[in-house]
């Protein structure tokens, strides 16, 4: 199979191979241990029986001498499935018994014959051709009578050996099947995992190749692979968003800053081209300064947004009272609002403390209040901007509402993007960064900015998590 080498390269395959080897070693050990243990038990039992028999025979000899012994042996030898009995003279000539032939030298030593030996009983046909002694094995006790006659009492152990062989074969087959099954399961499971990894690495290659819209495949099983893919996809989303943001910024810097810079340059050029009159130079320079200030302002806002997006700094954060910030900002903007006929009011009942940066929150709030005043001025009978603060569901809601023209719902998501100034507001002063900055401040604090339409007007909510002390 061509896929096998690839499978073998996986960590899973290597681990599995190791497990397989260990499994085989253990299984082999188990087979041998179990069979030899049971065989030994059976042999011990056999020996006990023989020992008993020998004692019996001894008693018969004592009572009736050799003739009685021989009679007892002959009697027993004729019983079906009997033990092996043999009496021989001191020279080894067989006198009586049910054993016709023996492996030579069996009778030479007195005592237990430790090793199984081959034998043939009377009346058993000699197997054609081969050794006459094959087919049976036995264990036996050999002893000499006081008159030097040799007596052998034994028992066939073929049963035991057959048992051992059967058990051993069964175990080997069982383990073999288990091993094969494991191998097959592992092969298919491993291949499946490998296929998924292949898909993931193929997708990541595509993404690395520049297709940032690509995402890693998910099987929907919710397993580790899916979780990994999901996290990586989230990471890609974030990277894409940052990348988009970056491109957006550079595009917008190119477009939006080019316009005032060109204007600046044209004004200087026009002043130089005209008659050298101090008053005109002066006017041109003043407008240049005003324009540059606006440019600096825009740059500072861009810088501020990027540093906020760069991340949170615990050192810049303390417990701050949102109510105090609302009071400050409303107090700061109230005269300016009144100047353009807008009523600015605060609805704050009690202090709400969060972990945050007073400066940043103050700046974000003033941007939103500023927008509210700018866009509601002259747009209704009684232009009103109101700031409210409440705690809801473990979050602090700092909401600025106005009764101006609002923002069409389809545009509401777009207004927090950098430089986005809706067509209708192009005539208003501002960098178009106010809401983007507010959004960056909120995400810096782990909160969010929610923009909702009202009838009439707009509501912008700064939602802060209450933090540990909340």
């Amino acid at each position: 199979m061509p896929a096998l080498p690839a499978v073998m390269k996986t960590t899973a395959a290597r681990l599995s191979a190791l497990y397989l080897v260990l499994f085989i070693i253990c299984a082999t050990f188990l087979v041998f241990y179990m069979t030899s243990l049971s065989v030994r038990m059976l042999l011990d039992q056999t020996r006990d029986t023989i020992q008993e028999e020998v004692l019996d025979l001894g008693r018969a000899y004592q009572r009736g001498g050799l003739s009685r012994l021989v009679r007892v042996i002959e009697l027993r030898a004729r019983q079906p499935g009997a033990n092996l009995y043999l009496i021989a003279d001191p020279n080894g000539r067989v006198l009586s018994g049910n054993v016709e032939s023996l492996q030579p030298s069996v009778l030479d030593n007195v005592g237990w014959i430790e090793r199984p030996f081959a034998y043939r009983r009377y009346g058993e046909a000699e197997s054609s051709g081969g050794s006459p002694l094959t087919g049976h094995s036995a264990t036996a006790l050999v002893f000499r009578l006081p008159n030097q006659m040799i007596v052998l009492v034994g028992r066939d152990i073929g049963e035991v050996e057959r048992f051992r062989d059967v058990v051993r074969r069964a175990l080997v087959v069982a383990f073999g099947i288990m091993g094969l099954g494991a191998l097959l399961i592992w092969y298919f499971v491993g291949r499946r995992a490998l296929k998924r990894i292949d898909k993931v690495s193929e997708a990541s290659r595509r993404i690395m190749g520049g297709d940032l819209t690509g995402r890693l495949p998910m099987s929907g099983a919710g397993d580790e692979f899916d979780r990994l893919s999901e996290n990586l996809n989230k990471m890609l989303d974030r990277i894409t968003a940052l990348n988009e943001g970056l491109r957006h910024v550079s595009d917008n810097i190119a477009h939006d800053l080019k316009t005032p810079l060109t204007r600046l340059r044209n004004r200087a050029e026009a002043a130089l081209a005209g008659k050298p009159r101090t008053a005109e130079y002066r006017a041109a320079l003043e407008r240049t300064i005003a324009e540059s200030d606006q440019l600096i302002r825009t740059f500072n806002a861009i810088l501020m947004i990027s540093r906020l997006e760069a991340g949170y700094s615990a050192e810049a954060t303390t417990r701050v009272d949102l109510k105090a910030i609302v009071d400050d900002v409303v107090e700061l903007y109230e005269p300016a609002a009144e100047e353009v006929g807008v009523k600015l009011e605060a609805h704050v009942e009690k202090a709400v403390e969060i972990d945050g940066n007073r400066e940043l929150i103050g700046q974000a709030l003033s941007n939103i209040v500023d927008n509210g005043i700018k866009y509601s001025a002259g747009m209704s009978e009684t232009p009103l901007v109101s700031v409210s603060l409440k705690v809801e569901g473990g979050e602090a809601w700092l909401t600025v509402t106005d009764n101006g023209p609002g923002i069409p719902p389809e545009e509401q998501g777009r207004v927090t993007e950098r430089f986005v100034r809706l067509e209708t507001s192009r005539t208003q002063p501002g960098s178009g960064l106010g809401l983007s900055l507010a959004k960056a401040v909120l995400s810096y604090h782990g909160g969010r900015l929610e923009i909702a339409g009202r009838k009439p007007g707009l509501s912008v909510a700064m939602i802060f998590p209450m933090g540990k002390g909340g």
Partner: protein
């Protein structure tokens, strides 16, 4: 524009300062030297941290303007070293860095003011002049007087030509700051920082409206303007603009 609007050139400066600028950007440094000279001050330039520290340690300057990121020696370490040696000359830190708590770190190192690049020179000049250690009225006084305008910090009362003027608490603080720096230009950001304690850029004319309300209260019914708008810079409280000096 209203009648109190004036140009910076319409006012003579009380004091001429000796300023040490430690800035590694040659062009920026030359520009600052020239611009300070035009404003009537003398500026010395050091292009790196080491020579900057040596100059600051040896010379007698009124204000230091120190870039935060310098070759050889970091701006903040220069300031903390100077402070450790008992040198209390006011220092303004210029920074292109962009961390949220930069200002706090800068001021903690012993800086007296902090300005982020890019900045308008008028802003820098106004801040440096306010920092000037010879500007005198920095010490806590209980009574400020500018012409016939009087502010009593203890009784929280304001009078002009003997007439009591009622101010809101914030207006009082605004006037107090302007009077403490009478004769000096204060910018809108400086007002926001010192009167409201916020350091961001007031996008619109919020500060102007506060100032014009205050102006209404302290000038209405009196002949002479005291609170002047300085075109392209900010405000200045001054009893009698002396237009004869350059």
């Amino acid at each position: 524009m209203n009648s109190a609007t004036a140009d910076i050139a319409d006012f003579g400066y009380k004091t001429s300062m000796k300023i040490l600028v430690i800035e590694d950007d040659r062009e920026a440094a030359d520009y600052l030297k020239k611009a300070f000279a035009e404003a009537g001050h003398t500026a010395h330039i050091a292009a790196d941290g080491d020579s900057g520290f040596a100059l600051a340690d040896a010379g007698d300057y009124d204000v230091y303007v120190i870039d935060r990121m310098l070759p050889r020696r970091d701006g903040l370490s220069i300031i903390s070293e100077l402070r450790a040696r008992g040198n209390e000359t006011p220092a303004l830190i210029l920074s292109a860095l962009g961390e949220v708590d930069d200002r706090v770190t800068g001021l903690r190192a012993g800086g007296d003011d902090y300005l982020t690049k890019p900045y308008a020179f008028s802003e820098l000049l106004a801040r440096v002049e306010v920092l000037n250690r010879r500007s005198g009225s920095k010490d806590v006084e209980t009574m400020y007087r500018v012409g016939d305008l009087e502010l009593d910090r203890l009784s929280h009362s304001v009078r002009r030509a003997g007439r009591e003027i009622t101010l809101q608490p914030r207006e009082f603080r605004l006037l107090e700051y302007l009077m403490r720096h009478a004769g000096q230009v204060v910018t809108r950001t400086m007002l926001l920082e010192n009167v409201w304690d916020y350091h961001f850029d007031p996008q619109t004319n919020v500060i102007d409206v506060h100032v014009s309300r205050l102006r209404g209260k302290i000038e209405k019914g009196f002949d002479k303007p005291v609170l002047h708008t300085i075109r392209g810079a900010g405000y200045m409280l001054r009893a009698d603009p002396d237009r004869t000096q350059p």
